[in-house]
């Protein structure tokens, strides 16, 4: 039964107008970045409508020739590896936190949240000195560990909520059939928690992928990641806007398909988490 009165149509029209405005707000800065990426230095900030044909691929070519692609690869390696590591360590931990009976659950969840709260400025120097002692400066492994300190609390926190939605009866039934706890986790619980797993994986990948701070502190020439490499286009006397725009797009592009594909799962799993 749909209300088709004029007042309804007006309201719906206002709603659609609002959505279009919000879409423009989201999209126009991206469009602006695309334009900057394609502009030659002499027309960089000129309104696009006054010189619509002044376009160039030079910015893209110069990025392709620079160290940026290697930095992008470093970002992929470290964010990917840290996500895998966080899932490997965090999923069993989250499972235990969700299904084991113990009194410190609240404290554990608070601690996990706390770890995301610390302002990096405060712990950067201790962190750096710790890494120097451990010989982890400018190594992939060092950066992967650092990212894991971001991604692991996140994975544990979000998988914990996902596992809470898996009925205990499912676990108990599995145990009754003689399976070990590990088998129950692998064969019964994980398949049921797949949306949560995908969501946790994707969001923790993004967390590491977007990091600027850890990479700034821990990496040197051989393991620089893309967000730090972007800052290399801000030089002593000039800012290479075209290169920055291309780099920002290059850094955003790979994550867009991941987000779109995972979108369904993210919404499913978060939806579940929120319902409780």
């Amino acid at each position: 039964m749909r209300d088709q009165s004029i007042s309804f149509r007006v309201k719906r029209g206002i709603g659609i107008a609002m959505m279009l405005a919000l879409l423009a707000f989201s999209l126009l800065p991206i469009l602006w970045t695309l334009i900057l990426a394609l502009r030659p230095a002499t027309h960089l900030f000129e309104p696009i409508w006054s010189s619509p044909t002044a376009l160039t691929l030079d910015n893209i070519a110069s990025i392709a020739r620079s160290d940026f692609p290697r930095a992008l690869l470093n970002s992929f390696i470290t964010a990917g590896a840290s996500t895998l590591l966080a899932l490997l360590l965090g999923v069993p931990g989250a499972f235990a936190l969700s299904k084991r009976r113990f009194s410190g659950k609240f404290m554990a969840s608070w601690l996990l949240l706390l770890l995301r709260m610390a302002p990096p400025v405060g712990f950067v120097i201790p962190l750096f000195l710790f890494y120097v002692q451990a010989g982890l400066i400018d190594t992939h492994i060092g950066l992967i560990f650092a990212y894991t300190s971001l991604t692991l609390p996140f994975v544990v926190w979000s998988m914990w909520t996902s596992f809470n939605q898996i009925p205990n009866e499912l676990v108990e039934a599995g145990l009754m059939d003689g399976a070990s706890l590990w088998q129950v986790l692998r064969l019964i619980v994980l398949p049921a928690a797949r949306p949560g797993l995908v969501a946790a994986g994707v969001l923790s990948f993004l967390l590491a992928w977007n990091d600027f701070f850890f990479a700034l502190v821990i990496t040197r020439s051989s393991t620089t990641t893309a967000p730090v490499a972007i800052m290399n286009f801000v030089s002593y006397a000039s800012v290479d806007w075209g290169a920055i725009a291309v780099a920002a797009i290059a850094l955003t592009l790979p994550t867009v398909p991941i987000i779109i594909i995972a979108n369904k799962y993210i919404v499913q799993s978060l939806g579940g988490a929120v319902k409780g």
Partner: protein, 425 residues
């Protein structure tokens, strides 16, 4: 919860590393160089194979953005990581780094250089702390005026030679399309405090009662107040919309796009305004000496050198690299390959090929630069270990006055008081 022992361990770990230093690194002849990005350092990176061929020493030159550089260098020096042997050393940092014990002296290297007299003395002196030299200069930029000759001609004005004239010319050419003048304004020791002292000194203002002997701050003097009034009037009345938050990228862009008719800034900024690859008004922009005032003409000065880290793995190889990079031969190559009029050896300006190249920008470009350098004072920004803090305190208050958040006198008083506090600490 953590045991006490663990806390103590963490503390020991943290504070001990500073003393522990490197040690465990492989003993091969290799020099790690950290530089921040500018045409000359990128050019140096390209020339590195020459050095390797000459000496058999392997180099690993990393060129990063300035902000990345500053965080990294602080951490690496604090941690004594030994991952940097040769370091880009801005003159304004030398005192601070030497006090912290982060640099090794280069006095011997310098005296071993066959043609050391060729190095422009003012640039060399910037690296002298106590009896030693802690860096060898490879870059010196100075303040210049850039102006649109077409607009000045149309208004029947001569290029300004004083800040008073600059106000007058700006008023005559200011229009909604093209602002009379644009200058950096963002708060920071390397931002507004790179250009403001040009006006301050021109009006007779000084940072201190008698630098370096008497460091009583005098930033709230009547002379500095007149200079601040000029700065505020120039930008407030004849600057483009929003100028009081501009930093160098916005200044460069405004000149290149023809949104402003004049600027006074460092060589590396004004030379981008006359670069036809980037600027649509390159052929209309002329360069001249920065305006003077009742007291003097005080062109800005920024000197950068190469230093050797105190924790360098092989100090001798590192020093060899510094000597090579600052040699006449390397600098000449750089001047020819890159946009690098900022060399620090006087004889390069006499090289016919170099002369011809930079005459392309403007016939008297190199002469202008030398003339400005000769007038520039080596203490343009005072060489003190606390300069970064002092500069920030002044820059932030000057910016507040420019944005009308404080009265000019009030801002200078506040800055002066903060300077006293910083120096008294």
């Amino acid at each position: 919860m953590f045991t006490k022992r663990r806390t103590v361990l963490a503390a020991a770990l943290m504070l001990g590393t500073a003393l522990a230093g490197p040690g465990a690194f492989a003993q091969q002849t290799e020099v790690d160089v950290l530089l921040f990005s500018m045409p000359s350092t990128l050019g140096l990176q390209k020339l590195a194979p020459d050095f390797e061929a000459e000496t058999g020493i392997k180099t690993n030159i990393e060129v990063v953005g300035q902000d990345v550089f500053e965080s990294r260098i602080t951490l690496s020096f604090t941690g004594g990581t030994g991952d940097i042997d040769v370091v880009h050393t801005p003159a304004i940092q030398v005192q601070r780094w030497v006090e912290a014990g982060w640099l090794a002296p280069l006095t011997q290297t310098l005296s071993g250089m066959p043609d050391r007299d060729d190095i422009i003395p003012a640039t060399l002196d910037s690296f002298k702390v106590g009896d030693d030299h802690w860096g060898i200069p490879f870059f010196a930029e100075t303040g210049l005026l850039a102006y649109r000759k077409d607009l000045l001609e149309a208004a029947g004005k001569q290029p300004p030679t004083t800040w008073e004239e600059m106000l007058d010319v700006a008023a005559a050419i200011h229009s909604p399309d093209t602002a009379g003048v644009v200058m950096r304004a963002a708060p920071g020791q390397g931002f507004n405090m790179f250009v403001f002292p040009m006006i301050m000194r021109a009006y007779g203002g000084e940072f201190f009662a008698d630098y370096p002997d008497d460091l009583t701050p005098t930033f709230n003097s009547p002379e500095t107040l007149s200079a601040l009034d000029v700065y505020i009037k120039l930008l407030g009345e004849y600057g483009p919309n929003g100028v009081s938050s501009f930093n160098f990228p916005e200044v460069v862009a405004a000149m290149q796009a023809g949104q402003a008719a004049m600027t006074v800034d460092g060589t590396s900024i004004v030379s981008q305004a006359v670069d036809p690859q980037k600027s649509r008004f390159a052929d209309q922009i002329e360069l001249a000496l920065p305006p003077a005032g009742p007291a003097e003409r005080a062109p800005a000065l920024a000197v950068h050198g190469l230093g050797v880290s105190a924790s360098a793995k092989d100090p001798e190889a590192a020093a060899k690299f510094v000597a090579w990079a600052t040699s006449k031969e390397t600098m000449t190559k750089l001047a020819l390959n890159e946009a690098y009029p900022d060399f620090t050896r006087a004889s390069i300006a006499e090289d016919p090929a170099v002369k011809e190249k930079y005459a392309g920008i403007q016939a008297d470009f190199l002469d202008l630069r030398i003339a400005a350098l000769q007038e520039a004072r080596s203490d343009y920004r005072p060489l003190l270990p606390t300069w970064p803090e002092l500069g920030a305190a002044m820059g932030e208050n000057v910016n507040a006055a420019l944005n009308g958040m404080m009265e000019p006198q009030e801002a200078l008083d506040a800055a002066n008081e903060e300077m006293g506090y910083i120096l008294g600490q």
